[in-house]
Amino acid sequence: MTATSTVKGTTMTQTGEQKTKRMSFRQAINAAMAEAMREDEKVVLIGEDLRGGNGGTNPDPTVEAFGGVFGVTGGLWTEFGGDRVIDTPISESAILGAAAGAAVTGLRPVAELMFMDFFGVCYDEIYNQAAKFRYMFGGKATTPLTVRGIIGAGVGAAAQHSTSPYHLFTSTPGVKVVVPSNPADAKGLLLASIRDDDPVIFCEHKALYDVKGDVPVGSYVIPLGKANFTRRGTDVTIIAIGNPVNAANKVADKLKGEGISVEVLDPRTTSPLDEEAVLQSVADTGRVVIADESAARCGFGHDLAALIAQKGFHDLKAPIHLVTPPHSPVPFSHALEQLWIPGAERIEEAVRTVLKED
């Protein structure tokens, strides 16, 4: 199984051969939802235009007119019906709040926020409500809620539809946060998220939707909190999450040709974080580049760097290098946006620099 051939100390719940199917990131996420809904009827989807076509002048009552803004929920309404694939008004607080309320009273909702950029109109429903229920109520509440949403720059969606605020979610005690980088992980992690009894925020990078990979069919779960080594190497570690993992892999493959051995570590979930894997890789290579699209300040990359500066300090042979966006909104212009993204070019440059330092 290609997608997992380099995995170490981690990940697979199934053993032996598992059939795979080639599909896109989009399809893998769709497949995870379908699988979850088939195995547990408490799983319901709620969000805007997950179906599309309710009301209005829709000539065909059986048609899914949207299936989500990038088509990720396509087919689910047709299979599971309107009681389980629930279209809502444009009211994100009501969506997330109702999902939280449904979760704590017995359902297992998967709410869609569409673009994670919209968290500012509704994050209270997670920050002060769902995430705090269990603790605030003395352990007596269980809130199995998954919030899906789109993150990421690269497709010209401009300042209000391109951010990746998973660092904000990561800093929130009580929620878990998932940022998959490839189709197989997306499926396995989403199934784990939906089955999880705590609130999980699942971040889908829009530039990945059309990326294809081999994805195990059927029930396939990757536990939350287990990192993945997508490349093994000994000279330097790149820790990357989400789309930058793919850039990091490219850099690793390119530098291999030059005899440079690059390890790429994908934490896959930012919370819980597989600290052990991070510190182990630092111990192995002593040189660290972190590639993270979340933020130039107080981001997930800074969290990793702080961890290493605390617990991996003695293994470090050189300063840590962070490759993040600049401290600016995402520019619309394609030319500027490409510079904004923590892409392969900047990652490669950081790797070459850190190799020269001591």
């Binding site: 009501a94 709040g97 209270d124 409500q129 605030m136 109520f137």
Partner: protein, 330 residues
């Protein structure tokens, strides 16, 4: 929609039910009056917001609910908790921050919850309950168990966007939820006639497609009747509705509030003319022996006394509890 006078609905309820209603109201009253004093000792951390004066609303609504129905509450949540059946001692322990509190001392006054009796939590966020209760209603509808849920909000909270969104969505999804607005005339220190543009909380419901009634929130029977209809509507698949209950709050917004936005005389007048317990008594005259009600009050007072004594003596959470219950396994 006019302010209805109390229906002579006392006959609809059994004597036991009437006594139970009074018991809950008396417990709330004694609980809050005692907290008003206890708070002055400085031994209660944080802010508390007392419900005294609004007893008939919480109880009038919750007497229509089962343990499997849910309510979402506000920062002024003690009354809702007691009305929905939360344990007095568990609450008092919680308010003193003790390990055996309903939330093991981690929640406090503003976050008392007990899901086992359908109490989804007091809520420190104004406008917090409506989306959550809408979700509880979604569960009930999906499971087809004829459950309903109730969201309590204040007049001040009625201006919060989350509340409007929840009402609209409940209509769109036809969910069994009752939005109860306790209009006690003030947010913190701003009049409802200042902050509600239309000066009519219930009047907003029509714009979202819900039926609404206004009732005298100090009259248990008026509230009970309105809630009975609203709950029946929800249980039978008729969707959401709104109740605005006109209320008076006896104490300041929070304990410590100097009440500068009203006079001492106004407060005395409120206590004299708008006492839900007195009003209840006047409505059940002839039906219930007043001595029974006196006894209920004494019992309530005693229960509160004991709960305070015990709560004060009870153990603090141990340090290891700090990081317990953040996640299921942590």
């Amino acid at each position: 929609m006019t302010l209805s006078t109390a229906p002579a609905a006392a006959q609809d309820l059994s004597t036991d039910q009437l006594l139970e209603a009074y018991r809950r109201m008396a417990k709330i009253r004694k609980f809050e009056q005692r907290l008003h004093l206890e708070n002055q000792t400085g031994d209660i951390p944080g802010f508390i917001h007392l419900y005294a004066g609004e007893e008939a609303t919480a109880v009038g609504v919750c007497m229509n609910l089962k343990d499997t129905d849910y309510i979402g509450s506000t920062h002024r949540g003690h009354g809702h908790c007691i009305a929905k059946g939360c344990d007095i001692k568990g609450m008092m322990y919680e308010i003193f921050g003790k390990q055996d509190g309903l939330c093991h001392g981690k929640g406090g006054s503003m976050h008392i919850a007990d899901l086992s009796v359908g109490m989804l939590g007091a809520n420190g966020i104004v406008g917090g309950a409506p989306p959550l209760a809408t979700g509880a209603a979604l569960t009930a509808k999906y499971l087809g168990n004829h459950g309903v849920s109730v969201a309590f909000s204040g007049d001040g909270g009625s201006n919060q966007g989350t509340v409007f969104e929840a009402m609209n969505m409940a209509v769109v999804l036809n969910l069994p939820v009752v939005f109860v607005f306790e209009n006690n005339g003030f947010g913190e220190a701003s009049g409802a006639d200042y902050s509600v543009g239309s000066k009519d909380v219930a009047g907003r419901a029509a714009g979202f497609g819900l039926p609404a009634v206004k009732v005298d929130g100090t009259d248990f029977f008026a509230v009970y009747e309105a809630a009975k209809d609203a709950v029946a509507l929800g249980r039978s698949g008729g969707g959401p509705s709104v109740i605005e209950a006109k209320n008076y709050r006896w104490f300041g917004h929070f304990e410590g509030d100097a009440n500068l936005y009203r006079t001492k005389e106004q407060i005395e007048e409120i206590k004299r003319d708008h006492d839900p317990l007195k009003i209840f008594r006047s409505k059940v005259e002839g039906l219930i022996d007043m001595a029974e009600l006196d006894k209920i009050e004494q019992e309530a007072e005693q229960e509160v006394d004991e709960s305070v004594a015990e709560a004060r003596a009870a153990a603090e959470p141990t340090p290891d509890q700090l990081t317990v219950d953040v996640y299921k396994n942590y």
